[in-house]
């Protein structure tokens, strides 16, 4: 009997000993806003795919916390006096995770793939005449016109970042997902440990050569020095469980805690909240369909401004005024191009006036189809507030409840509402992208080629292009104000405020977190 007990005890002790051995490895366990389900950040615009991409891939430039592009893979670069030719030389020692060197062939193929898929890349490549390799480390980009956003575009954050892949993956059709995730970034993707919907594992790339000088990280800029041996992006779909796991020390970092749990997290021992970067926020948008009545009439669209009291929306979504701000503009408040162009439209919350203007625009009580998202922690309460305000104005609201996945599919339909289309949906966009008129794709009005709702206005497109060609910051600010004024007049969308979600982390265990500017920066986090 005693022998059996001893054998049992040894059997139980072995796994504990193994676990102790593993404890030597420094592991960062982070819960992000979504799970890593797609490994190709060019194929999809999902933000989580870009966070994954920024761990394993590198970029030519990285925009810093002030959105200024800083060289990353590029060692040196020159711009010709006519601003038409850019010559880039890669840093020494860049290698992919399979050991092969990063060459200009890989870079050119990667940029072409990105330039065929991403909105910002497509705009840049509409001015690119040619990309030529001078040798394995140097290449030139020749423009047809002196486009002023080349470096900012190459260093952009948010969705579909301009990552550099191996040529063999970069030659994949951008409408198809690459099969391998082999980059040259500070971490390697452990594909065999990947459980989609549960966990993605990244191992430190010991061969990574960071930028010299030990530059401190600032968003995507600075020396990328891996801070831990292993990063596990754990997916916990239930926000309450994620919060409890952080309090219990089972995870170290929680990117997007639910607003309702912030007071609890603020009180929890060992846990700290950190505000994201000053422009890293979320902006709420009400998108109207410009193709069909009543919102094919600008007067009806403008009438909707009288139903928007941003405080109502923000209180319903966020609650605590510390985390939100009223922002009557489309360009991020707090960003470099914040202005008050068109903000006068918001001065008067008045359902009666809205009803009267709708009537003058020819609205006779036809049903207005609102795509009512039921499963989103911010879009759902915002839609509830909007629908209530519309009903107060006596509008005939046809609120069609559906999950976010269905809204995403339905909003792409251009048919009239009665034939499966829509009139209104509510969504959000990132403050970093929305701070720049070129990167802010939702402010565009490119008709059929634009985003859902299909606003159509040549003047807006002209101003966006003019912004990209402006040579001075003063000129850019002037254009940004004119653009926002025009976009508000045309009601490209209706902003309903701006809010921040602080990230939460175990201050007693990890260090080195930098405020987000578009994407969470994980590579520099160290474990105590």
């Amino acid at each position: 009997m005693l022998k059996r007990i001893l054998v049992g005890a040894v059997a139980l002790a072995i796994p504990f000993a193994a676990a102790h051995g593993q404890a030597q490895e420094k592991v960062l366990r982070a819960v992000m806003h979504a799970d890593v389900r797609v490994i190709d950040p060019i194929w999809t615009t999902q933000t989580i795919a870009s966070i994954h991409g920024m761990l394993i891939y590198d970029t030519l430039f990285g925009n810093d916390a002030n959105l200024k592009p800083q060289p990353q893979m590029v060692g040196k670069y020159e711009i010709s006096p006519d601003r038409l030719t850019y010559t880039f030389t890669l840093r020494d020692g860049l290698k992919f995770h399979d050991g092969s060197p990063v060459t200009t062939k890989d870079v050119i193929a990667s940029l072409k793939r990105w330039g065929a898929k991403d909105g910002v890349g497509i705009r840049l490549f509409s001015f690119v005449k040619k990309l030529d390799a001078v040798d394995d480390k140097t290449f030139t980009m020749v423009l047809s016109e002196p486009y002023g956003m080349v470096l900012e575009s190459l260093g952009k954050s948010g969705s579909s970042v301009a990552i550099i892949m191996r040529e063999q993956e970069a030659l994949t059709d951008p409408q198809q997902q690459v099969k391998e995730a082999i980059g040259s970034g500070p971490y390697k993707f452990a594909k065999d440990l990947w459980v989609p919907g549960s966990k993605a594992v990244y191992l430190k790339n010991k061969d990574y050569v960071p930028r010299p000088g030990n530059e401190p990280p600032s968003s995507f800029a600075g020396s990328k020095i891996p801070g831990v041996d292993r990063i596990e992006l754990v997916w916990i779909s239930d926000p309450q469980t994620a919060m409890s796991a952080l309090i219990n020390g089972e995870i170290d970092f929680y990117e997007a805690p639910n607003n309702d749990f912030l007071p609890l997290l603020a009180k929890a021992r060992g846990v700290k909240l950190m505000m994201t970067g000053k422009i890293d926020s979320t902006q709420g948008m009400i998108r109207l369909n410009h193709l069909h009545p009543p919102f094919d009439n600008v007067k009806a669209r403008q009438a909707m401004y009288h139903l928007i009291n941003q405080e109502d929306f923000l209180r319903a979504i966020v609650g605590n005024p510390e985390y939100y701000r009223v922002c009557h503009g489309m360009l991020t408040c707090g960003g470099p191009y914040q202005n008050d162009g068109g903000s006068a439209f918001f001065k008067d919350y008045n359902p009666k006036k809205a009803a009267q203007l709708m009537k003058e625009a020819g609205y006779k009580g036809e049903p207005i189809t609102v795509l009512f998202t039921t499963d989103h922690n911010t879009i759902t309460p915002a839609t509830q507030v909007l629908v209530q305000a519309m009903r107060e104005a006596g509008l005939n609201v046809d609120a069609q409840s559906m999950d976010w996945g269905s809204v995403v599919s339905r909003r792409a339909k251009k048919e009239p509402p009665a034939q499966g289309g829509w009139n209104i949906f509510v969504t959000t966009t990132g403050g970093v992208g929305a701070s720049n008129p070129v990167l802010h794709t939702w402010i565009g009005a490119a008709c059929d080629k634009g985003l859902f709702g299909w606003p159509c206005d040549a003047e807006i497109e002209k101003l966006r292009n003019a912004f990209a060609f402006a040579q001075t910051d003063e000129e850019r600010k002037k254009i940004a104000t004119a653009l926002q004024t025009r976009a508000m007049e045309q009601v490209v969308y209706i902003p309903f405020g701006q809010w921040n979600t602080p990230l939460a982390y175990r201050a007693d265990r990890i260090d080195g977190i930098v405020p987000n500017t578009g994407l969470a920066v994980l590579w520099g986090i160290t474990k105590k």
């Binding site: 193994a18 999809t44 916990i236 219990n248 599919s409 794709t441 985003l451």
Partner: protein
């Protein structure tokens, strides 16, 4: 018996075919489009259409069904639209946590529910019976997720005795494995326990009123022998039936429990795949669940013959 089992196994084929047909077309008729989810927030309608074309989702539905059926007949469930990984790999990655959770719940529930059901019947209309029945009503009425959060709050957050979430495979050690299953098994098992306890009590009460039980008592047999050997065995058929039905309940309960306790099992895979409209994964999972249900029913039917000698196939 062998002929019966073979016949039943063959009978599962048309059932699975009908399930496959229904799940394929119901998914396609449901609103939502994986291409729109993949293309993302900033994608234009044209970009979504391009992704849809590359995924083959723009082809006629019948053609898509034909292709999928052919793949299925070759043992290939297809690949996930999102991760590009084989559905069989995704399911096999998630099988262990779900099987472990189901078995541990079954163990906890059956091991506790049958004794308390027997005791409740034995002490019918006394305090202990009322307590057991009170527990059964409460257990059956309380939603799994409410109990789960209460357990997490006390046992994990306040007292820090057990982990909040996650699953440790048995290869990482017996205690880590057991530790990760205690709270989920209790949360999931309480409803099931309540169901089995009630049925055990009812079935036992019926049997205890029989003449042969009275005879056994009159012969002076010990109470435990009367209850366990004479009464429980004869009351077993309805109990086993309920255990079988309960396994279907467990499958749906697993979805919620796995979400709350963040266990990477088939339940969570199902929810995620449905929300993302990952058609091949949902189709594969429904077939697996349907197959499991058919097999459980078969095992239950076979067990009747062992429990009641009068039943012959």
């Amino acid at each position: 018996m062998t002929a019966y089992i073979v016949r039943r196994l063959f009978a599962t084929l048309p059932v699975m075919a009908v399930v496959a047909l229904f799940v394929f077309f119901l998914l396609r008729f449901a609103p939502g489009d994986p291409a729109a989810i993949i293309a993302g927030e900033d994608a234009t309608a044209e970009a979504i259409a391009a992704v849809r074309a590359k995924l083959g989702l723009d082809r006629p539905m019948v053609e898509q069904f034909f292709v999928w059926t052919l793949q299925l007949l070759q043992g290939d469930m297809g690949v996930s639209i999102f991760s590009n990984l084989a559905v069989t790999r995704l399911i096999s990655q998630r099988l262990e946590p779900t099987v472990a959770l189901t078995l541990s719940t079954l163990f906890v529930a059956v091991a506790l529910a049958i004794p308390i059901g027997v005791v409740a019947a034995w002490k019918a209309r006394k305090l202990i019976d009322r307590l057991v029945m009170g527990f059964a009503v409460l257990g059956f009425a309380m939603p799994v997720f409410v109990l789960a959060y209460v357990l997490i709050y006390f046992f994990a957050v306040q007292w820090q005795l057990l982990p909040v979430q996650g699953y440790k495979p048995i290869s990482e050690g017996l205690w880590p494995f057991a530790e990760s299953l205690i709270l989920p098994s209790v949360a999931l098992g309480v409803t099931y326990m309540a169901l089995i306890a009630r049925i055990t009590r009812a079935s036992m009460l019926e049997v205890l009123a029989q003449d042969y039980i009275r005879t056994a008592n009159a012969k002076g047999l010990a109470t435990d022998r009367v209850l366990l050997l004479h009464a429980l065995k004869n009351a077993a058929v309805p109990i086993v039936t309920v255990i079988g039905i309960g396994i279907a309940l467990l499958i749906s309960g697993v979805v919620i429990t796995e979400t709350v306790f963040n266990i990477p099992g088939l339940g969570r895979l199902t929810v995620d795949a449905v929300l993302k409209r990952d058609y091949p994964v949902v189709q594969g999972l429904i077939l697996v669940f349907a197959g499991a249900k058919v097999l459980v029913n078969l095992v239950i039917d076979i067990s009747y013959a062992f429990l009641d000698p009068r039943i012959r196939y």
